[in-house]
């Protein structure tokens, strides 16, 4: 590596900021009210060892088909800043719904999707007897209906229209709704 490549100049910092700004605005293809920055999957914008800029993303679920679409969208959005930009995917540390910003959670609620509850109260640490469990009933914090804000809701299925959502029903207003699963 040449000495120049290791130095970060003011122009470099400006470029990183411009790349970050462009990448952060990319919407999630399945929940378009959220940007990838809201979701907490835009992990880093940096210069790689070879001096070229790269945007680092982390996937939500291992098999989420949106990851590939997001990678393409980020490339499209950031190429105007630097045509040499790369998008890299990093798995560790594993993404958690706790990284969704407060602003992102509010947008989800307005969109009709109950935001994820904190993972501290489930799902992973819960054990039922000796087995791992994500028992909804074991949770002390209720999922609230995004329409009427009732806390009286029930789980229909842990698996919904995308990997990240479960399906619930509100006993208050009788409407079904999606909840962003805690992960």
């Amino acid at each position: 590596m040449t000495p120049e490549a290791t130095m970060t100049t003011g122009a470099d910092l400006e470029k990183l900021a411009a790349l970050r700004l462009a990448a952060a605005e990319v919407p999630d293809p399945e929940i378009p009210v959220l940007t990838i920055a809201d979701l907490g999957i835009l992990r880093d914008v940096r210069f790689a060892a070879d001096g070229l800029p790269e945007v680092v993303l982390t996937p939500t679920y291992s098999g989420c088909p949106a990851t590939e679409a997001i990678r393409q969208d980020v490339l499209t959005q950031t190429r105007s800043v630097d045509a040499r930009v790369r998008v890299v995917i990093e798995l560790a540390p594993a993404w958690t719904t706790d990284w969704i910003t407060d602003d992102g959670k509010a947008k989800l609620r307005d969109y009709g999707i109950a935001p994820p509850r904190p993972t501290r109260t489930g799902p992973v640490p819960v054990r039922l007897g000796s087995r791992p469990a994500v028992r909804d009933a074991a949770r002390t914090d209720p999922a609230r209906c995004p329409r009427c804000d009732s806390a009286d809701t029930e789980l229909i299925s842990q698996f919904g229209s995308t990997p990240c959502k479960s399906l619930r029903r509100c006993r208050g207003c009788a409407e079904p709704f999606d909840e962003f699963k805690s992960l």
Binding site: P59, Y61, S62, G63, C64, P65, V88, I89, E90, L91, A92, P93, A94, W95, T96, P123, V124, L128, G129, S130, R131, P132, A133, V134, R135, I156, S157, Q158, F159, G160, S161, P163, L167, K181, L183
Partner: protein, 254 residues
């Protein structure tokens, strides 16, 4: 992915083995799409298949990188005898109870395995496991809920769940068989010795079966060979369906 290739051939083979388990079970579960007993279940099984496919992709990509093979090379261009998945993951779906019993036995195993792999000396396997273990917790929950509902349900659903358990149980033993590669992987500090996972697995499974009023079968027949490329009769048909498009149109993309 940006990770470097596996440190040696053993780690690569181990990653491919775990990737094969996830890939083949994913394919089996995807066969339920549009055939499940209710629409919520159709969606649930497809979601679980998708989680497993994602895990398979990262594991096969990683394992294959050691020998310059892509995930597609491994999934679509290997012959039956080159797949090293557990026979449990390939057995036919049967009725819904058979599929759910297979889900219970495999998800509980995978949960123990991934929890252990989170502290693997291999950084990429640890990263894959730390991500996947959270997904698998939902799979365990899904299978447990169904088995309790079926077992502790009507006389018919109970009998079918018990019969499914008797059918699938023999295939569970292969998950805990310590072969040469598994011992080497344990020596390297890369993964757990399979037999060591069984006590915790049995505790989890037993808990669910008790609540489901089902009886643990006797340990009798213990079919094995998946890790050596020996598969059940239905496996060739599975591969034919899974690989047909790619083999007919090599390099096809969309």
């Amino acid at each position: 992915m940006t990770s470097s290739a596996p440190a040696n051939a053993e780690v690569a083979a181990y990653a491919i083995r775990l990737g094969d388990d996830a890939l083949i079970l994913s394919h089996r579960l995807s066969e339920w799409s549009a055939h499940a007993p209710q629409i919520e279940e159709d969606i649930a099984l497809s979601n679980i298949a998708l989680d497993l496919l994602g895990q398979a992709r990262t594991l096969l990509t990683y394992g294959g990188s050691y020998s310059g093979r892509s995930e597609d090379d491994l999934a679509y261009l290997r012959e039956e005898r080159q797949f090293t998945n557990l026979q449990l993951t390939e057995i036919e779906n049967g009725n819904f109870a058979v599929t759910m019993i297979r889900q219970l036995l495999f998800s509980c195993y995978q949960h123990e395995l991934y929890r252990d792999l989170e502290s693997s000396r291999d950084a990429q396997l640890a990263a894959i496991a730390a991500k996947a273990v959270k997904e698998v917790a939902y799979h365990v929950e899904h299978a447990s809920t169904w088995i309790i509902r079926l077992g502790d349900g009507t006389e018919l659903s109970h009998d079918r769940a018990q019969a499914a358990l008797e059918t699938v149980w023999p295939y569970s033993h292969e998950m805990f068989a310590d072969d040469e590669l598994a011992r080497r992987i344990a020596d390297l500090g890369v993964g757990p010795l399979p037999s060591g996972l069984r006590p915790a697995w049995l505790g989890s499974v037993q808990d669910v079966l008790t609540e489901a009023t089902l009886t643990l079968p006797d340990d009798d027949w213990k079919p094995t060979g998946g890790r050596k490329g020996l598969h059940t009769e239905g496996f060739g048909y599975l591969l034919a369906e899974m690989q047909h498009l790619h083999r007919s149109h090599p390099g096809a993309q969309w």
